[in-house]
Symmetry: C2
Subunit: 199 residues, 2 copies
């Protein structure tokens, strides 16, 4: 099956390394240039343009990866067919590392490439809103905000906590989950009970 095995593989390795490193570099500084990414990937700027014709292409590819991963997680936790609030807890637990990895996308959402990112992220937003709506329909979640807004704000809070770099402590996924559950209207006692059921 691998026709041009070694040749093609090492090329894909370079490409993947650029993508991985780009997530890192842009995560630290969303305004980093193609040069910074290239250097960090141990490659020359020109080479990056060999794989991605433009900066937008790079960002788009990154976003597509993120959408794929997030959609997978959402599909899996939804497959468990549990209550919406339990599903939310499972979702946050599974999405936690992904959120940190792709933190740059949220930062870039407002900006030059916001339009492209937003449209690609649309489907994920939909799925998230669906989950919250399901919770509202079964009265697990409150209705003080429409599902679309509530899902965004709740996930935004998790994201904010996940990427907050406090001087001494490191972000606490448990506290973040509780916070998001609270704002979804889940009582604190139930929130803690849900968390204690997690493996």
């Amino acid at each position: 099956m691998p026709a041009e095995s070694s040749r093609l593989r090492s090329m894909n390795e370079t490409r993947d390394r650029i993508l991985d490193v780009a997530l890192d570099v842009l995560g630290d500084n969303p305004d980093a240039g193609m040069g910074d990414i290239a250097t960090a990937a141990g490659v020359v700027r020109r080479t990056v343009y060999g794989h991605f014709p433009s900066r937008l292409d790079l960002i788009r590819t990154l976003t597509e990866r993120a959408v794929a991963e997030m959609t997978d997680v959402l599909a899996e936790v939804n497959a468990a067919a549990a209550e919406a609030d339990a599903t939310w807890v499972a979702f946050i637990a599974r999405i936690w590392p992904v959120t940190h990895r792709y933190r740059v996308l949220l930062a870039l959402r407002r900006g030059e490439y916001g339009e492209a990112i937003h449209s690609l992220l649309g489907p994920v937003d939909e799925l998230l809103a669906d989950l919250v709506r399901r919770g509202q329909d079964s009265s697990r979640f409150a209705r003080h905000l429409p599902a679309g807004t509530l899902s965004q704000v709740a996930y935004g809070a998790v994201f904010a906590i996940a990427t907050s770099d406090l001087p001494n402590e490191n972000p606490d996924p448990r506290a973040a989950t509780i916070t998001s559950l609270l704002m979804l209207g889940v009582p604190e006692t139930r929130a803690i009970a849900l968390l204690d059921d997690q493996p």
Copy 2:
């Protein structure tokens, strides 16, 4: 008292107009240039540099204004000597329009001028954290997060709702306040009661 009355006044008018317009323009697009601001203010780019030697100077002046307004509001609501949760409600009500006005600063917090803005906004963050801490000490607020983080995340949620531009609806300060109270650990019933006490 006005020595060079007309002269100096019209100069201050121009300066103030630039500042006001800058808030507007940068609020819509944080990456707008000095030229865009100048044009929107009905003035030439060179004139803006006459009042503010650099872009950073402009941003700093804007930030100083914001800090002054926010500090005033915080001082006033704290003077009422009510419970921390009631104070929070009053604070959100009073800060709501200000939040929208200075929305650009939050957007610019991550970016080139983040350092300068952050240091100027520091005192406000302190006051906010103090309020939340007070609430935690009197058991009005939950302790799932340290006061510093919780205050930031709660205010961040309010900000997110205040600046969310939904297709048809406009942001609802009441829903935003409830959301923030929930994540602070205030039970929904109490949150609604607090809001109904507001004028």
